[in-house]
Amino acid sequence: MIGITAKGLLESALGLYFAAAIVSLVFQKQPKAGVAACNMLCMVASVCCGAGALMVLLARAPLAGYSGFQFAVPFVAVSLQMDKLSAFFVLCLAVVVFCVSLYAMGYTRRVISQRSNGVYGFLYGLFIISLLWVLTAENTLFFYIAWEMMSVLSFFMVAWHADKAENKKAATTYIIMTHLAAAFLLAAFLMLYQHTGSFSVFADSSGMSAEVKNIVFLFFIVGFGTKAGILPFHIWLPYAYPAAPGSISALMSAIMSKTAVYGVVRFVFFNLEIGQTWWGALLLIMGLLSAVLGSAYAFVQTDIKRLLAYSSIDNIGIVFMGLGISAMSHTAGNHTGAFIGMVASLFHSFNHALFKGSLFLSAASVETAAKTRDMNRLGGLIKTMPRTGVLLLCGGLSVAALIPFNGFVSEWMTYRAIFTAVTIQSEGLNILYLVAIAGLAMTGALAVAAYVKLFGIVFLGKPRSAQAEEASEVSPAMIVANGLLTAMCLMVGVFPVTIIQIISKIAMDLYPSNPMIPVQTSSWYQPVSFTVSVDKIAPLLAIFALISILTVTILLILPLAKNRPVRRCVTWDCGYPKLTPSMQYSATGFSKPIVIVLRMVFRPLRKKTVTGSHPYHPQGIDYDTAAYSFVETNLYKPFTRAVYSAANRMQSIVQTGSVRRYLGYIFFLLLLLMAYNRMVP
């Protein structure tokens, strides 16, 4: 090992990503070479930064902060650091970027061929650099700059297909909301500087008063909550994720939302240090609402990527629930609960990156093959796209938190965190934990339903349109990339112990005063016991039982299957012989019972016009149903309407267009400032 350090690996990764961006621009005229070169450089860079992150995670000491180069602007230093928390998220990023870049090698040429591949690759490389900088920034102003860079670059990506009106709206909503949120972040950083005197991410904030800490906490929640997609700041997400190109949606959902989680953990937990119980309660309630409403809305969508977007809101809600439980336990003095809550939420972020990345890549594959994202027009794709079908099925099983995939283990840990947090002392808070359990159960069941709908309607049954009939399997690069992520989901689901040990070290950094946590790190296959009771981490017994019973059953039935092979016939359907594809359930119809039951949430609109001479002899029925987001209608629309009307009135009163009036404003303001200067020494 000739001096391969984590620092060196991180710097070389950054350099390689930049090289990938430049190479993509250089090879603008030869798209094949450009795309391949750019993505391969990205893959190599991911391996580098992943290795660097692993070195930090498995070693004892974190990578100390260091300065890249100093800018002429005072206070802003391009200084990077990688302690265990950053390294964990960088590892997450490395894994996902590797797979997404491999995917993009097959995807980009088929989809971006109308526009410039070169510019796309350039933006892509810079986007990843900004993500890395956000995760490893040591200076809060540099963090802010990287954050803005990330937002602007992803805006360009979301607006890539802005010739469609809906994408234009998506991009506009996105940039406005994320910019507003970033303003809150900047205010919080400046307040931190004002009270701690340093711009470092590790600044010691113990000198701050409680009121200031409260305000800074709220600003951080608004800023990071918007990027993460937590209710009520989530409204941009269901528009922006579908509008972006396939591999970018995967990257945004898998990594960009995690930067927000990283921000909350870094600044609220590590830096500010949970002051009061209501902080944790707020995190828990926001997470719970996002989880339940996110999964409910996911279930009623008919657009594949919008379903996945709402499902992302759901899962990030679960992550925030874990964070909230951890915070509340910490203030209640329950160290075990705090520890398990933090580990559960970080683990769920990691798992979410893996399975959501895989799901968005599958959705992009379906969109490429069938030219549509509307579930009402798809169906029967498993016959023509079996591999993508299997990958989507595995991704769906992961999200629905089913054995043997990784989603189950992290959701199980979240349940255990709630369980550990419910102590006899905190009687008032137990109601909140009760609601949390009920909410988590409901969101689990709704997630199962949503992914049954996604897999069943898109891949099973008969094709509902000509486009679905003509779909064919996508290129091998796309399958292999998707398969890598899915395989990792399965592996982490069956052997979660290594990742949990890594995360435990991070949580131990956070809660060092933990006398009763004997994290026995025996062998890699042995379950880690958190508490002194007999709870185990991995559902190994269940997986073993499942697989062995399956094997034995199949072996027992095999001789019978040879004697009596299956006979193929038409679908029985209680004897009706002429089934057409339109007679199967549509995506809209599948979610109708839930829409009716939860109509207070969905407020469905229904318009039915019957054409024909007589109502009893209809010639045709026109049925239109729509459900809209009540947060958007009741919270944001009035606000935007007020802003617009105020702006209109301002235009007629203040911004009249008369130069003389503007000169008068300048003169008046100068007078005011001179008087202020004179009065205040």
Binding site: A445, A449, K462, C569, Y585, I594
Partner: protein, 312 residues
């Protein structure tokens, strides 16, 4: 220790042999109240043997997923059953049988069943699936809150530990919270096993099908596996209720051997009486039933903290 090696085969034997008997008992009681003789007690066994020998007819529209589902449903139910010990005395030490793992295994079976119903491209399958989605989304919170209450009362979500806490008297039908939690689980039982008042297991009418709609296209050995899986799931829930609320003969193996079938029989009779006493609800009245179950489970949870149990 020697007894613990017997656990696995004994548990498997109980699950596989007793599961079809429950349906027979319930049908006999229903017939008795309707002044009929009803099918023989062992009818379900005869049905299973018949199905074993029949050739399965599978729709051309379906894929390998449809053929895979019966095996997954059966294996998931049986694996979940292994986690709910019938006889605690022979359950191995440090047996990692978490309640949430059990619920998740049953959910795995449900996922496959719901998705495979969409494969034959018939209207019935989608109908069953969408109704099941609605019902399960509304019932899962009640079940999990009840399990959590039981877990908090016993200090762990491990099922053998919960059963031993019940035997020690920490969870008892005589206490308010125990009684209310029992009512909540009992109400949720009908939704999970597709019985009246949520779903009618004896009919194939469009108005009244949820579970039956999902298994409509299966035949032969596939239908056998699906029905067996459903029967085992029913038995698991009965065993759970028996272990939680009727923990007699817990420590001694001899007494337990005698008493366990009686417990299951008693609960099956209760289920049958409840089925006979109610009618099948209109589909959109099922949320009301789910709300009742949820409120009862919440009451059980709150009652546990209000009463002296939590401090005892």
């Amino acid at each position: 220790m020697a007894l613990q090696i017997v656990y696995l085969p004994l548990q498997l034997a109980i699950l596989l042999t007793m599961a079809p008997l429950i349906n027979g008992i319930i049908k006999k009681i229903k017939a008795f109240t309707q002044k009929r003789k009803g099918p023989p007690l062992l009818q379900q066994y005869y049905d299973f043997i018949k199905l074993w020998h029949k050739t399965p007819v599978v729709s051309k529209t379906t894929s390998a997923f449809f053929l895979m589902t019966p095996y997954v449903v059966f294996a998931a139910s049986l694996a979940a059953g292994l986690l709910v010990p019938a006889y605690y005395a022979i359950a191995p030490d440090n047996f990692p049988a978490d309640a949430i793992v059990m619920v998740s295994l049953l959910a795995l079976g449900r996922f496959f069943m719901m998705a495979a119903a969409l494969d034959p491209a018939s209207a019935f399958g989608g109908m069953g699936s969408s109704r099941e989605a609605m019902i399960s989304a509304l019932i899962e919170p009640s079940i999990l809150v009840c399990l959590f209450t039981a877990g908090i009362a016993s200090g762990s979500t491990d099922i053998p530990l919960i059963f031993s806490a019940a035997a020690m008297g920490k969870i008892s039908l005589l206490t308010p919270f125990g009684f209310v939690t029992f009512l909540a689980i009992f109400t949720a039982f009908f939704a999970e096993t597709a019985r009246i008042p949520v779903d009618d297991p004896a009919t194939h009418l469009e108005l009244t099908m949820v579970h039956e709609a999902m298994v409509l296209e299966y035949s032969g050995r596939h239908l056998l596996l699906m029905e067996y899986g459903a029967a085992i799931k029913q038995l698991i829930l009965l065993m759970l209720m028996a272990g939680l609320f009727l923990p007699f003969g817990f420590y001694s193996m001899a007494v337990a051997l005698l008493v366990f079938p009686l417990k299951i029989l008693l609960l099956a009779v209760l289920v049958a009486i409840a089925e006979v006493a109610t009618v099948k609800l209109r589909l959109f009245s099922v949320p009301n039933l789910a709300a009742i179950a949820f409120i009862m489970s919440v009451l059980g949870f709150l009652q546990f903290f209000m009463s002296g149990e939590s401090h005892g």
